[in-house]
Symmetry: C2
Subunit: 252 residues, 2 copies
Amino acid sequence: MIPILAQSPAPTSHRQEMSTRCSACSMHQICLPTGLKEADMDRLDQIIGRRRKVPRDTHLYRVGDPFTKLYAIRLGHFKTHQVNPNGDQQVTGFQMAGELLGMDAISTERHHCDAIALEDSEVCEIPFSRLEGLFGEMPPLLHHFHRMMSQEITREQSVMLLLGNMRAEQRFAAFLTNLSSRYSVRGYSSTSFQLRMTREEIGNYLGLTIESISRLLSKFKKRGWIKVSNRDLELLEPGMLKAVAAGTQTCA
Amino acid sequence: MIPILAQSPAPTSHRQEMSTRCSACSMHQICLPTGLKEADMDRLDQIIGRRRKVPRDTHLYRVGDPFTKLYAIRLGHFKTHQVNPNGDQQVTGFQMAGELLGMDAISTERHHCDAIALEDSEVCEIPFSRLEGLFGEMPPLLHHFHRMMSQEITREQSVMLLLGNMRAEQRFAAFLTNLSSRYSVRGYSSTSFQLRMTREEIGNYLGLTIESISRLLSKFKKRGWIKVSNRDLELLEPGMLKAVAAGTQTCA
DNA sequence: CGCCTAATTGACTCAAGTCAAATTCTGTGG
DNA sequence: CCACAGAATTTGACTTGAGTCAATTAGGCG
């Protein structure tokens, strides 16, 4: 299953095919530190176990699964959700290409949430102990990893702000604005994209019901701020949405 | 300001006084990895800049401050809160001795929240770049650090679950239960402790108003589950509180 | 003792939830 | 290509849990 997992480095000529090398990945600017040396890139390629396809609606991992690997999303979208003892669940995030999954499992060596592909996706499996092994010799890689964990902490804090303080309309505007900027960073349109998740998943993430999401979509549409057709979304007034998210504008 | 910051290791006889060494700190079991060698402990002591006292109601850092250090709480309690552009704030956590503050600032090298002492407190300042320098040579320390960051991610995810899914009564029960278990880990009573924060801060953290917190306290008191007198709290029925938090029990 | 802030309690309101029904999509098989 | 079943979404009518506003009460401290 695992291709070239050289304990001793494989000769250059035998290394993995172009399409699966970090240096050839369109996401390496987000996923990896800038200015990593060619040789270091190769060493990284060597510890990456394999590229795994994850079909739509399939689990990448589940609560309680033992943790051994992190996953870098090469392609596609995921959601993560927590399940409480009582059985009800909370979507804790939507992840897209270039983002890292599984960091919450490091502390207990068990996954704390389920990760599910929202569409046919592909991830790189990164055995964590081997990655930690590299850190000692590649400080920029370590620093980048810390930045990614830190970023996840920051992201979650802003969700806490959203869930704890904002009204429905603000939450949803913040959600759209957030997606917009993430697509923009990835070189996609910031004003026109597809929602990869159902209304129900959005609602769950934002602490609202599916009906509320539906009503908000209608309201924003009526105001002329967005154009919606099923999962296709166009932001006609991104500035307004930002203002609503910031709380400096309402839509009454 | 900075005491012994030996570039070359200081001779053993000159090292910091006992009371400020990691090995002598009552929190080192929580703060540091278990089984760190004596020599490694010494090297750690040498990079710790100083122990700083933080008087009650005083900022340890503010949003936007440049990030250079992490802070390990030696003594006391803190709260962190986010402030959104509009000015309203969300308490994102209450931290106690042995916990680490500032990890959210690594990604941008600026703090993303305010950290404020809830009582007269004391922290160890840990220059982050020096800490990263040690990681290469002390893998267990690195691993422990990753566990602490990961734990913070997990903690925030459960707050998301709380804010997104739970009713007021569940949230508050979960909050009390959480404090209880954290005191327990630190060797304090799990059923009798002081609330170091105001009702208002609790409410803000839980996405509720001060009035709701007050009503919940009264309700739990009437049920005979707790005893309250100002900030002093006693959990008479921790099992009930856990059940309410889990959603398997209501208090109607 | 008296001032100021924190907390409690009650009465009323409202934003978002619940329930229900209608409509639109999606995918599958004939 | 069309019909149809099941799922997802939208919309409306009504309910409710928690918020708001206001008035007390209790504590902390100079």
